[in-house]
Amino acid sequence: MGLMPVGITPDESKVLCQRVLGLVQADSAEVRVAVAADQHLRSANNDITSNSIANRIAIHLTVSYGQRSASISTNQTSDAALREAVEKVQALARLVPKDPEHLPPVEPADYDEPIMWAEPTAAATPADTIGWMRPVIEQARAARVESAAYLIRRVGATALSNSCGLFVHQPHTSVGFSMTARTLTGNGSGWASTQVTHAHNLDLTRIAEQAIRKAIDSRNPAERPAGRTTVVLESAAVRDLLALLVENLDRRSFDEGRSFLNSLFSNETSLEKPGTDRRDPIGSHLFGDKATLVCDPLCPEAPCGTHDGGLPLVRTPWIEGGVLKAMHVGRFWALKQGIKAQPSPGNIIMPGDGLTLEELISRVEDGVLITRLWYLRMVQPQTLLHTGLTRDGTFAIVHGKLAGPVKNFRFNESPATVLKNMVASGIGQRVLGGENAMPMHVPPLIVKDFNLSSVSDAS
């Protein structure tokens, strides 16, 4: 089976978009095409458990008659299938009530050339990929730990085209790898991950070493009482929390009075001088001085696409020195409020202070090192309070040094509070997230008063 599905090149993609749009008789239309050739390699108990390859294509078409619109998606590309999909979605659109918030498709714009493609990643074969995984498993066997790992190699492209003449095609490659090592007694566990665009930058041996080391070091954890404490969050934990914050920075929710920013902003402006515009949180100092988050599609360490639904994505500070600089603003809401639309970020970069993890730990008199979080869920949208747990290596810090493994904790904490209470940061790195796929390059942080709510027996 070929590893390059139709639609991976700009020309193929353009032809496919034109085939679809050429069939449309509605007033306006937009087609999105996503193609990917994926290889998934999975292991457990130091053996490969499944190895699969799949080519996929998704064609998503939205058509509109005036303010009536509907969408359809299909993975069938024959002329007959496309014709039928177009007819079906046009029939749906004619029957849908007018949407007063409907807007015409996005006009063409200039987009930066993305940097998400690496030929060696695209050229790798399934046999190559198994060859990458084998030494990792053998490393775990030699260390007498049980490993479970997942490697995904993706070669794909997205295209967006519409009846206003827009066409943008962006190819991408990536390799993601994560590994959990568990001691044979089952009471020590470690995890590490990486994600790269270019296969030559893969260093799976290093990742395996980290996971194995954490597993061995986390054996026989002691119980430390729950409570608010200073924590060092490794990058994997930081990225999961920050993703939750960023996805909730939404202007419309704020204007409608149902955002965590409403109470946060209200508290802040009540302390400020008279005359502060209480309707616009942009420019308000809502987080700690060290909090800076930027979307930068051309960041080589964690690149992303350079448009969001046809709106150009360019380097944009979202939070800078604790000041809120940007919120997501949809096109309709921007028009209604007379403000500029702001697409959602495609990646998040958090500059760090450049301290090593050891240096961060050395600054903590009494606290906990948290290497990874798990099962994060919103508890209270009014404050953005989330719950979740630590896992795969949690350690006490005493007098600036690691003082042995401790049992895992459930936490109840708001990522907004984390950004208020961050004290220092380390060196940024790109790691995989637990439940969010956005590329992120973030440092480990020291955070004070982190709410470790209860102890978990999980190891």
Partner: protein
């Protein structure tokens, strides 16, 4: 546009057009039916000729439609279809798998070759070969019985119903209301080298709504989501639900919740409605008793389990009141199907996971039974798309009613001095070995002297799975039984989403740890559970 205006505008021509819009899917499915045995022979013979000791061939067609409405606006009408196939092979004790949307004969041969090649590439360094049991061959066709095919119902009927829900909510004082309806049809064909040829079709539907009330002066808001769970059912399920009545009640409850006293954290007795308890069953019993998880196969993502094979028949998982069973045959069950995705017949394979408090069995897929000394899978394999490797997924897992059929939820509440009656599911989280959980809900009724006396806000309950089920001392009778469930339960890498139902009766639990979520966020509560003067003191963070 309100519902009445909307209904006026629609035409008979439109009705008939929409009713036929899924004809192509049906025609394609009929085409597969006509040729499936011949088609399946191509990859299976190829795989066998290349040395596969076992192979199976799957075709899967998924149609779905999702509608989203906000107040009186329809903001999304999305139809989706995918159609593709896969070949799974076992070669020299290693799995290989290849999938494509190309169902041509040439592609089927290539899929078999690719699957064998990547299985063989693992040769020589495996520690333990994959071994599977021999399954009986079935030649069967199964179609889920439904009364009204949701794909044949006019779009305007569905949209009209959603707009009516939103209108009822905003007309009752909601600041915002959004509603949705999702429907899915799965058609699956499976053939394997044991000789099975199976064709199945099932439908599921998920209506829902959420109302929000706001108080701009206080910068506060409260939401209440509907209690209607997804079901393995036709359109009749949505048609017969009292969504309008629930929308009005939701507004009333959201308003009350916004001004309700904040609970004071501590140990309290809980009576938990099925609309909340189904999710607790899912997380504290469903996931821990997946055998692949217990054996380390999910260690890198979902985690492992406290519930290991050595605890079979010995672990006191719950009190003697607690019997939790598993099946793939329950009426309207989201996991209900005649044959699982390994080709195991599900009828007659119902099993108890917990029987009168004692842990009795795991959920299993092909090749797993021998790990615990048993002979065969209990039919729990599922693949969520044509490109997904089948893995062990949850059957319907349900709490059996108490022995006295006359026991009502009021009877359970009457046995509580001070506590909370919880309805509706909301936030949920549990650790990677399924010990420490924390759940919230939609509505928290205060119980005092055996009666409901108002409402609390800011409630979460937290505990240990085994301790929690051992604290159960009362169950509703069979008339109180309700089926809850999830449309998209996640598991595996790459992630797969599975539909699953959980039946439950109201249940009473003694002295459960209740958290105050405002306290947890750093806002200190000053009220006691005994008065209504609750509030918050202190600043953010």
């Amino acid at each position: 546009m309100n519902r009445r205006d909307w209904m006026k505008r629609t035409t008979a021509a439109g009705l008939s057009l929409i009713a036929n819009r899924w004809q192509r899917s049906m025609a394609e499915a009929a085409s597969v039916n006509d040729h499936f045995i011949r088609l399946a022979d191509i990859p299976l013979n190829k795989a066998t000729s290349l040395g596969a000791s076992f192979a199976d061939f799957h075709i899967m067609q998924t149609d779905s439609e999702s509608l989203f409405a906000r107040e009186q606006m329809v903001q999304g009408v999305v139809a989706e279809s995918t159609f593709g196939c896969s070949v799974r092979v076992l070669v020299d004790g290693a799995w290989g798998f290849a999938a494509s949307d190309d169902r041509s004969e040439e592609s089927l041969v290539q899929l078999a070759e690719s699957a064998v090649a990547i299985a063989r590439a693992q040769g020589g360094w495996r520690r333990r070969p994959v071994e599977i049991e021999i399954l009986p061959a079935f030649n069967g066709r199964w179609e889920q019985p439904i009364e009204v095919d949701p794909f044949a119902v006019a779009l305007e009927e569905k949209i009209g119903r959603l707009l009516a829900i939103n209108q009822a909510a905003t007309g009752s004082g909601a600041t915002f209301c959004s509603s949705h309806l999702s429907q899915v049809r799965e058609r699956k064909w499976l053939a394997n080298t044991f000789g099975s040829h199976i064709e199945q079709s099932r439908v599921r539907i998920f209506p829902g709504a959420s109302v929000t009330v706001t108080d701009p002066r206080k910068n506060e808001f409260a939401t209440r989501a509907s209690f209607s769970p997804p079901r393995g059912a036709g359109y009749e399920y949505f048609r017969d639900l009292d969504c309008i009545g629930d929308a009005r009640l939701a507004v009333e409850q959201a308003r009350e919740k916004m001004v309700a006293p904040s609970v004071v954290a501590g140990k309290l007795d809980l009576v938990i409605a099925p609309s909340n308890l189904w999710l607790t069953i899912h997380e504290t019993v469903g996931h821990p008793t997946e055998l692949d998880r217990a054996m380390g196969f999910e260690a890198n993502y979902a985690g492992t389990s406290f519930c290991t094979p050595d605890k079979l028949d010995t672990l006191r998982y719950g009190s003697e009141h607690v019997t939790i069973g598993a099946d793939r045959t329950a009426l309207n069950g989201l996991s209900t199907i005649a044959y699982d995705d390994d080709g195991v017949e599900t009828a007659g394979r119902e099993f108890a996971i917990i029987d009168r408090g004692v842990f009795r069995n795991f959920q299993m897929a092909l090749g797993q039974a021998a790990w615990i000394g048993r002979t065969s899978s209990n039919g729990c394999a599922y693949a969520d798309s044509f490109e997904a490797f089948p893995i062990q997924r949850m059957p319907n897992i349900s709490l059996k009613p108490g022995p006295d059929p006359s026991v009502t939820v009021q009877d359970l509440i009457a046995g509580v001095e001070d506590g909370i009656y919880i309805e509706g599911n909301n936030s949920w989280s549990i650790d990677q070995q399924r010990y420490n959980f924390q759940f919230t809900g939609q509505v928290f009724h205060k119980i005092h002297h055996g009666k409901l006396v108002g409402m609390y806000r800011d409630v979460a309950y937290q505990g240990n799975s085994v301790d929690f089920w051992n604290a159960c001392d009362g169950l509703g009778g069979e008339k109180t039984y309700e089926l809850g469930g999830a449309f998209n339960c996640g598991k595996g890498q790459p992630g797969q989403a599975a539909p699953v139902s959980h039946g439950a009766v109201p249940a009473r639990f003694r002295q459960i740890n209740v958290l105050n979520t405002s306290d947890e966020a750093g806002n200190k509560t000053v009220a006691s559970n005994g008065n209504c003067n609750g509030g918050k003191l202190g600043q953010w963070g």
